[in-house]
């Protein structure tokens, strides 16, 4: 489904600020995999997400999606196959446009945009039934501008929009991090439901260790641009935060210090 083959990326190469962001990343997602990614700040999680989505291109290495080499494919072309939800609730929707217009844009993701009306009667019904699954009463506010929604509502809408056209892969980049705990839980539940229902192959970055353990069938831990730990299906079942911390110490020979607080939230 998704394959990262020896991905390397260095920022500010040959300057004093040189930083190796990704160092020989290999990752293979099978159809239906739900992989959670944890790691401290600067571990390279977001860089990896941006590589997959096409916002950044690797210095070396190749990215395969659905068996196709997409390494040099432009971001907007690649996004036909990729659903994305960002950390910032403002980032995934167009605030001055209505809920139904936003959904219409998500709807035409994998089609050629034409001069067909974006929101017609038939689509409106489709949007309404999809919005009902969120249980946020958004189906009755379809002509409200998205800028009027709360952060949680916007993030739920982003999630719905990202999964609307069954993308080959769903990328979630700390999409609950900017929400308060109760809203975050709501979005986490929704994520679980949508991913299971649509059987989406998913890669989710999170700072929340508990969330990383609760969701998905696989887990990877990143540090300093490398994948240092991969936990597969059965193994993941019995995993706890304490075990993860121990594992990190064993591999790196050091405590999860300054970032530990962040990680164990």
């Amino acid at each position: 489904m998704l394959k990262l083959d020896q991905i390397n990326k260095t920022f500010n190469e040959a300057t004093p600020d040189e930083k190796v962001a990704l160092d020989q990343i290999n990752l293979h997602l099978h159809p239906g995999d739900f992989v959670t990614v944890i790691g401290s700040n600067g571990a390279g999680k977001s860089t990896m997400m941006n590589m997959i989505s096409g916002a950044l291109t690797p210095d070396f290495g190749n990215i395969y999606l659905d068996g196709k080499d997409v390494t040099r494919l432009a971001e907007f072309k690649r996004s036909k196959m990729i659903g994305r939800v960002f950390q910032d609730p403002m980032a995934g929707t167009a605030p001055t446009m209505t809920i139904e217009e936003n959904l219409a844009m998500a709807y035409s993701r994998n089609k050629r945009r034409s001069l067909h009306r974006g929101v017609d009667k038939k689509r409106k019904e489709l949007f309404r039934t999809s919005l009902e699954t969120l249980h946020l009463n958004l189906e009755n506010r379809m002509s409200a501008k998205v800028g009027l929604l709360s952060g949680g509502e916007r993030q739920a809408l982003s999630l719905l929009m990202a999964t609307f056209t069954q993308p080959s892969i769903l990328l979630l980049d700390e999409h609950t991090a900017a929400l308060d705990p109760s809203r975050a839980e709501l979005i986490t539940d929704l994520t679980k439901r949508l991913v299971e229902h649509e059987r989406l192959t998913t890669l989710m970055v999170t700072h929340n260790m508990q969330q990383a353990l609760d969701l998905g069938n696989r887990l990877i831990m990143m540090d300093k641009g490398q994948i240092i730990l991969e936990v597969e299906e059965e193994e993941k079942q019995g995993l706890t935060i304490a075990k993860l911390m121990d594992e990190f110490q064993r591999i790196r020979g050091e405590q999860l210090t300054s970032d530990a607080a962040l990680l164990s939230v």
Binding site: S79, K80, T93, H116
Partner: protein, 347 residues
């Protein structure tokens, strides 16, 4: 008085097409496009030059629209592919067009070098062609007869131009409304709203910016070609400050009529353009003002249109707060009074 307002309305409706173009870039695409000062003249220059060469005015006007479209596309290319700042791309295209416009009008001279203006005094224009059809209808006589019955003097020679322009402008407005609701239109609006988001939904924002700028400048050039035919004159200086006039129309319209829906906003822009012309026309009737003061008046109108809504909003907010405060005080007084009575009975 009546004839002055009438002239302003006629011109305002023609300039409204330009204002719709400015609305498309400034508001919808969130791209401050200064190409307008150049592409307005380009429209006028292309149409005037072709009319001098005896092309049908309709063909001349359509060509002007196409040339304006390409001018806008080049600004878009400079910004998206050349990674040049939006303001700078527009300014670069604007001054490039200054020379190009001289060259276009220069085609009418023997040596084919630059020419700063073309008079169209006895040439056929869209309006003169339409007049032939219109005067047979006898509507002018009917309206003027009715108005003179009301005691209004200095009636216009014809209502045809006004009717034609209202028809054309409303048609363009409706097409714009429809277009901004299509899939492509939605993507263009989202490009102005949240580029990152619409890119993640497989839209090529570069192409959309180029397309949007093209359409906008096509409208601006259309308006320029009509103004040249209306005033029977194309001049290389006629575009100076055009962007501010367009912006003034957009801001005035939005301030007065609101921006609830696209349908309403585009209508507001058209009214804004007309109101701007009327205000300008009336202010030029003041004795000590000269037509050279026009740009200064324009600047003052725009500043007023930008500041006055803010002041009004602040006042409204204050009034709202005061009202709420008063309500709260009243409620408190009612409760407090009750409590005093209670304590009194306890003692």
């Amino acid at each position: 008085m009546f004839s002055a307002v009438f002239g302003s309305v006629e011109q305002g409706i023609i300039y409204a097409i330009m204002a719709l173009g400015v609305y498309l870039t400034f508001r919808v695409l969130d791209f401050p496009d200064l190409t307008v000062d150049g592409s307005f003249v380009t429209g006028a220059a292309v149409a005037a030059t072709m009319i001098v060469f005896d092309y049908h005015p309709l063909v001349a006007t359509l060509t002007a629209i196409v040339v304006g479209f390409f001018a806008g596309c080049i600004t878009g290319l400079l910004h998206t592919k050349g990674k040049i700042n939006p303001l700078l791309s527009g300014i670069l295209m604007m001054i490039a067009l200054y020379s190009i416009n001289l060259r276009i009008m220069g085609l009418t001279t023997e040596s084919s070098v630059g020419r700063p203006n073309i008079p169209l005094l006895n040439a056929e224009t869209i309006f003169s062609k339409f007049q032939g059809f219109w005067s047979d209808l006898g509507i002018d006589g009917a309206i003027n007869g009715f108005l003179s019955g009301l005691g209004i003097e200095h009636l216009p020679a014809t209502w045809g131009t006004l009717f034609l322009m209202i028809l054309v402008t409303i048609l363009i407005k409706l097409i714009a409304d429809w277009f901004l609701q299509t899939e492509v239109g939605l993507a263009i609006r989202a490009t102005g709203d949240n580029k990152k988001m619409i890119r993640s939904f497989s839209a090529n924002t570069d192409t959309l910016v180029i397309l949007g700028l093209g359409i906008s400048n096509a409208l601006v050039a259309f308006s320029g070609s009509l103004i040249a035919q209306y005033g029977k004159f194309a001049d290389n200086g006629m575009g100076i400050g055009m962007i501010i006039i367009g912006l003034a129309s957009v801001i005035i319209g939005e301030a007065i009529f609101g921006t609830k829906t696209i349908f309403r906003t585009t209508l507001a822009v058209i009214f804004g353009a007309v109101i701007y012309r009327i205000v300008l026309g009336l202010s030029l009737r003041v004795k000590f003002l000269d037509s050279g003061d026009m740009k200064l008046i324009t600047a003052i109108i725009v500043i007023a249109a930008l500041i006055i809504p803010q002041i009004l909003e602040k006042r409204r907010e204050k009034a709202r707060k005061a009202r709420r405060q008063a309500e709260r005080m009243e409620m408190k007084a009612a409760q407090g009074g009750h409590r005093i009575v209670e304590t009194g009975s306890n003692q």
